[in-house]
């Protein structure tokens, strides 16, 4: 039994207690393999569903397939898994920010099944966010099983996300960078090595089971000329515009759907039905849409500028209808499709306007459009660059990729100050990145900074008696408590009552009740320190009394808070680069 217990507490083994990097690397491999397996399972399930439903797509009622898929998906999440679903990736970021990466076990399976139902039936969404959620949940639950601490658990959550991304795209570098840039939001030595190992494990598993496939490999190579580099500026604008439009349509659709007072599963079915109808006109909007990307990169996509632009808008609308109305899935794949449509449309516009210029092939612009779109919507340029490099294998387009990604991120940031994943969290004040003011304050509780060396006085105490108390005290604040009930009735600040001290006539005529502040600002145990500091700044206080259930508990002062703040900041940034 004891051996079993020590096996479940590897953190207590002396070799790992000194330095846990080896432990995290070992765990990272396990998590990377498990999350990679989850990603591959989803991938294969999607292929199976698409093939199974293929024969039914020619019927007139095929538009009902996405409706049925979205309905089953929402019912599965709500009724079977009891998930209370969010989007997936923001939930992972939230748990990392606030709760040391604690994620429910059910999340490791729920999004895989629900997104499979949504996407497999034709809904417009991507499988990447669900596998990130699943991988992260696997990492978190393995860490919980082995009783790892918060920091180690966060690292394993990152390992799960990296392994899943690396496996589904066969892109280990993207797995690492996506995790560091988006999920964790910090580049620290202790994290990066296990995450890199997990990413390699996930990618290697994918290569073993699926073969070393590059998702969107182009048959030819791209020769970038100077005009193409200049054109990248315009492409970045196009991509940024598409990113902003996509983000806002998604949000808008969420709000619109909430106003429709029907059961959640009917709502999901309505969204799916609309996507099915849209799919009759623009078939490229259905599912994850990777076929369309293949065609565009190969330069064999049919249709003129108008059709391509229409497909781009239709894909935005279809994704918003799928996700905004209750379907399950992510925005990675739709972003790639929309980006490639935007790139292709831009290329065709350039050829139309400047027919005599030797432009690079349209496949290259489709590829650059994907990078611009990813960078814009995620506001994570490195993820955009490395993802496109790895999934296309087109390393010769590195320079324009950097230009488009950097510019698209900057331009999108002007209209949408935060990425799609962060926006809701930022609005609620729940995006707490390590080493930031909000995170440091969130990690300190009032109980940790409370000072209890105050001397309480009675309301009926004479000023003379109070003077003796002041002599004994080292503090300038004196809480006043009712002698019988122990209730907090007021506060005396030494600087406010100085005039009374120099008038000896007052000593035996004035009592504490007469000179106290009967309605002072107070704080409660549950208050967050950011609120407490705001209160201090607004009213010019240096200390505030903590009152709990009508009783004085102690004082919170800026000086003590600063000491604790520095300690916490040192802890949070100790391992950063």
């Amino acid at each position: 039994m004891k051996k079993f217990i020590s096996w479940r507490h590897p953190g207590t083994i002396s070799i790992f207690r000194m330095d846990d990097r080896l432990l995290l690397i070992g765990m990272g491999i396990i998590v990377g393999l498990c999350s990679g397996l989850a990603a591959l399972a989803l991938n294969h399930s999607l292929i199976f569903m698409l093939e199974f439903l293929h024969d039914f797509r020619h019927y007139w009622w095929a538009f009902l397939l996405p409706a049925a898929g979205a309905m089953c998906s929402s019912l599965f999440l709500e009724k079977i898994m009891n998930e209370g679903a969010g989007h997936g990736v923001p939930e992972v970021i939230y748990s990392v920010s606030r709760y040391g990466g604690l994620i429910r076990l059910r999340s490791s399976i729920s999004r895989l099944v629900s997104s499979c139902l949504t996407i497999g039936s034709g809904g417009s969404a991507g499988p990447e966010a669900p596998v990130v959620m699943s991988g992260s949940a696997i990492g978190s639950n393995i860490a919980q099983f082995f009783f790892l601490n918060d920091r180690q658990r966060i690292t394993l959550v990152g390992c799960g996300a990296a392994g899943a991304v690396a496996s589904i795209f066969n892109a280990p570098l993207t797995g690492i960078i996506f995790t560091m840039e988006i999920i964790l939001g910090e580049w620290s030595m202790v994290n990066i090595i296990p995450i890199a190992v997990a990413s390699v494990a996930g990618a290697e598993l994918s290569r073993t089971l699926r073969g070393n496939i590059i998702a969107f490999e182009s048959s030819g190579s791209f020769h970038i000329g100077h005009p193409d580099l200049f054109a990248c500026i315009g492409l970045a604008m196009f991509a940024a515009l598409a990113s902003v439009l996509f983000t806002r349509t998604l949000r808008r659709m969420h709000k619109v759907s909430r106003k429709v007072s029907v059961p959640f599963w009917v709502r999901a079915a309505i969204g799916g039905c609309a996507v099915g109808l849209l799919g009759f006109m623009v078939p490229e909007v259905m599912g994850e849409g990777y076929h369309a990307i293949h065609d565009m990169i190969e330069g064999v996509f049919k249709g003129g500028i108008g059709i391509v632009a229409l497909a781009c808008l239709a894909k935005i609308l279809a994704t918003a209808l799928t996700l905004g109305w209750g379907g399950s899935g992510g925005i990675f794949a739709p972003s790639l499709v929309i980006g490639s449509f935007a790139g292709l449309a831009y290329h065709r516009l350039l050829v139309f306007l400047f027919p005599s210029v030797m432009w690079v092939s349209e496949g290259c612009f489709a590829l650059l459009g994907m990078a611009g779109m990813m960078s814009g919507i995620l506001q994570a340029p490195l993820t955009g660059i490395f993802l496109i490099l790895e999934i296309t294998g087109s390393y010769e387009v590195m320079l324009p990729l950097i230009i488009v990604s950097a510019l698209s991120t900057t331009m999108t940031h002007y209209f949408e100050p935060s990425s799609f994943y962060f926006k809701e969290l930022m609005e609620k004040g729940q995006l707490l990145r390590p080493g930031t003011d909000s995170r440091v304050l969130a990690d300190i509780s009032i109980r940790e900074v409370i000072e209890k060396d105050c001397i309480c006085v009675r309301p009926d105490m004479l000023l003379r008696e109070f003077l003796y108390t002041v002599q004994r005290s080292t503090r300038n604040y004196f809480p006043v408590e009712d002698q019988e009930s122990g209730q907090f009735v007021g506060m005396i600040r030494f600087d406010q009552i100085k005039p009374y001290f120099f008038n000896s006539v007052m000593y035996d005529t004035v009592i504490v009740e007469q000179i106290m502040d009967a309605n002072p600002d107070t704080v409660h145990y549950d208050d967050e320190l950011s609120e407490v500091l705001n209160k201090m700044d607004t009213h010019g206080h240096f200390s505030l009394p903590v009152v709990f259930n009508g009783r004085f508990v102690g004082m919170v002062s800026k000086a003590t808070l600063l000491d604790k703040y520095r300690d916490e900041l040192n802890v949070q940034t100790a391992h950063s680069f």
Binding site: N82, G84, A85, R98, Y99, R104, R106
Partner: protein
């Protein structure tokens, strides 16, 4: 420092009885009460190494307009001023996060299954998870409000039962009600004699408190020690108006599933209000 009990209020007659138990506990222990009136059928509790999703049954959302009013009315009738908890953080829009920095939590035997509320039933899986993860003890009230006039600690010699004994001693000290102890030394081949339990108490530094005389500062009124008969039959000797304090789930899941748990047996047979200290319960410094 004052302690706080966390209570999830349900606006039904059963919920009223359970709230009355919590309020009585507050009265006795000079604790304050934090009441949560659910707006959604589920919430999350993030513990140190676990996140527990509590899926409430629909009765928790009964008549939300009068819920707060009823809770205040009941609390004031027992001279307790309630504090209502409004979740600040949400994992998803319908999934609030409830803080876990309380000293006690009141939890019926099952909070997600209506069928068990009319009998003692089994402890629901969610409540079991809460007991397993929480650093605070769980007050599991009887179906009908009843004042308790003594405290009885179930002491089986394990680490968890030592924690339960310390909890019982603390409560007895705060409330001033007498403290008894209940030990069943086990039937068949696993039987242990009383000296074994005294030795365990000695190692924990509690021997004088339990076995000593008044001069030695003894705090335990009576030690019900049974070395014969069936455990469930001996439970008849537990006073009907006692608060039963016990440790729980110190063993692994496998052992519990295969051989059953003493705690499960106690809660199935004993209709008293229970106070359960889980394996992660931390005994506060005096």
């Amino acid at each position: 420092m004052e302690t706080t009990i966390f209570h999830v209020f349900r606006n039904t007659p059963l919920g009223r009885e359970i709230l009355l138990q919590s309020l009585y506990f507050c009265q006795q222990t000079s604790s304050s009460i934090a009441v949560y009136i659910p707006q959604h059928v589920r919430f999350l509790m993030y513990y140190e190494n676990d996140v527990v999703q509590v899926d409430l049954d629909q009765s928790y959302l009964t008549d939300p307009e009068t819920a707060k009013e009823h809770a205040i009315e009941l609390a004031l009738s027992m001279d307790v001023e309630p504090r209502f908890i409004t979740p600040k953080n949400f994992t998803a829009s319908t999934l609030p996060d409830i803080p876990v920095d309380f000293d006690f939590m009141c939890c019926p035997r099952s909070i997600s299954d209506l069928s068990t509320k009319i009998s003692l039933g089994h402890i629901g899986p969610k409540v079991r998870r809460i007991i397993n993860s929480a650093r605070f003890p769980i007050l599991m009230p009887s179906a009908l409000f009843k004042e308790w006039e003594s405290i009885i600690v179930f002491f089986g010699g394990s680490d968890n039962s030592i924690k339960a004994l310390k909890l019982g001693l603390r409560l007895s000290q705060i409330t001033g009600v007498p403290l008894d102890m209940f030990t069943y030394s086990g039937g068949g081949g696993t039987q242990k004699n009383k000296e074994h339990f005294v030795e365990v108490l000695r190692e924990a530094g509690l021997e004088d408190i339990v076995c000593g005389n008044e001069d030695q500062n003894a705090k335990v009124r009576e030690w019900y020690f049974f070395d014969g008969g069936k455990f469930e039959h001996n439970l008849y000797r537990v006073p009907h108006n006692a608060l039963a304090v016990l440790g729980a789930y110190g063993h692994g899941v496998v052992k519990d599933v295969l051989f059953g748990s003493t705690m499960e047996m106690i809660q199935t047979i004993l209709p008293n209000t229970l106070l359960i200290a889980g394996p992660n319960y931390v005994v506060p410094h005096p």
